[in-house]
Symmetry: C2
Subunit: 225 residues, 2 copies
């Protein structure tokens, strides 16, 4: 295992803090507060890590004020999901071209796990395995840069998905748990058949449907947007 220094530790830990819902959109992430909760001796590594998160576009920053989680707006949501549609269209198409037999087997394992996790109703677990699926496809595409962009835009879109889940826990999740895996299977089939066009098209459709479900509901009265 690669040895990580405090800067990397802080970087990874802050991401975890955000994903674990310790902060909400608009919240400022105070260096001293984070330093304390990570049991670090000085703010330096935290300061550095926050700077990197800003550079990568995960956080916004106000000079001399601090870093904060970007606000969620309908316009931003459209931008995020439109970009994601097009990036993931390409990663899926590339995956269909470059997939090895071994990698396709791994995809099948991931989907198998996904269905089991969906049955169990574990939200956090499902979200994690869903990420693994999209990440794996980007990796199969074997293009360092598209993979990087895919990871970024997925993370960004996940903030929206997360708050959707968070708010409508009881009502809509079960349908989502059933729709998403079936679409994932279709995408995998296209990749297995080395059909790039079909894989890309289905991925695009999948992302769009995710967006439409979230967007319609979240812009209703009481939604987070």
């Amino acid at each position: 295992m690669k040895k990580e220094n405090l800067e990397e530790f802080a970087y990874n830990s802050i991401i975890k803090l955000i994903l674990d819902n310790h902060y909400r959109p608009g919240d400022f992430l105070l260096e001293s507060e984070i330093t304390e909760s990570l049991n670090l001796k000085s703010r330096t590594p935290v300061h550095h890590a926050l700077g990197q998160l800003v550079a990568k576009g995960f956080l916004d920053k106000k000079n001399k004020k601090g870093c904060f989680i970007p606000a969620l707006t309908p316009e931003d949501a459209e931008h995020v999901f439109f970009a994601r549609e097009n990036i993931e269209f390409q990663t899926a198409a590339s995956a269909a071209i470059h997939a090895s037999d071994e990698e396709i087997k791994q995809l099948q394992v991931i989907i198998q796990e996904e269905m089991e996790t969906g049955e169990s109703g574990n939200i956090v677990g499902y979200s994690s395995i869903n990420e693994t699926f999209h990440e794996h496809i980007a990796k199969i595409g074997k293009n360092k840069y598209l993979q990087q962009y895919c990871q970024h835009i997925f993370w960004r879109s996940n903030i929206y998905i997360f708050f959707y889940f968070y708010q409508f826990k009881a009502t809509k999740i079960n349908t989502e748990f059933k729709i998403s895996p079936s679409q994932h299977i279709k995408i995998m089939e296209a990749i297995t058949n080395r059909d790039a066009d079909m894989a890309g098209k289905r991925m695009k459709q999948h992302v769009r449907e995710t967006f439409e479900a979230i967007f319609r509901i979240n812009t209703q009265k009481g939604g987070v947007l």
Copy 2:
């Protein structure tokens, strides 16, 4: 004008140093060296700025060793230009949809300038105006995320273009100066006609031809790859 602090100053200055060819691919950028050449009192802002450049993928890093300009390889070149093709396909298509009359006028001005600069044979100036063209199209597309990725991948591809220019100053540049503007004009026409498919297609073709010219020559004996 926005007041910039030392971290931002260092960040922008380091980019300039790289673009001005003070460093070559593979070179380590030493914090103390940069600190001195920027007349700063401490390494802190430089350290921070380098971290951001690594986070954004402009530089690579070895632990406890330092940051360096990523090496140029044929595989990486393929990845860079493949990603760029697909990102810029989308920004061009989006630009055709979202362009205002005002923005199209600005595009025309940029191309006008480009042709004049091409005639004069000023390489650095031409490179800069070429960047402006691609940047402007991404901006017209009006998607913050695609714009961000476009900027990154363009910068990355520019390293290859730069070394191509640098190495073959006398021989091939004149033809490049004439081919590229004519392709730019065709892209602009498609945008003016609000023809998204055509704009995307022509942009993709344009990027691919740029790549093929650079790649073929640079992998010959004596090339940089």
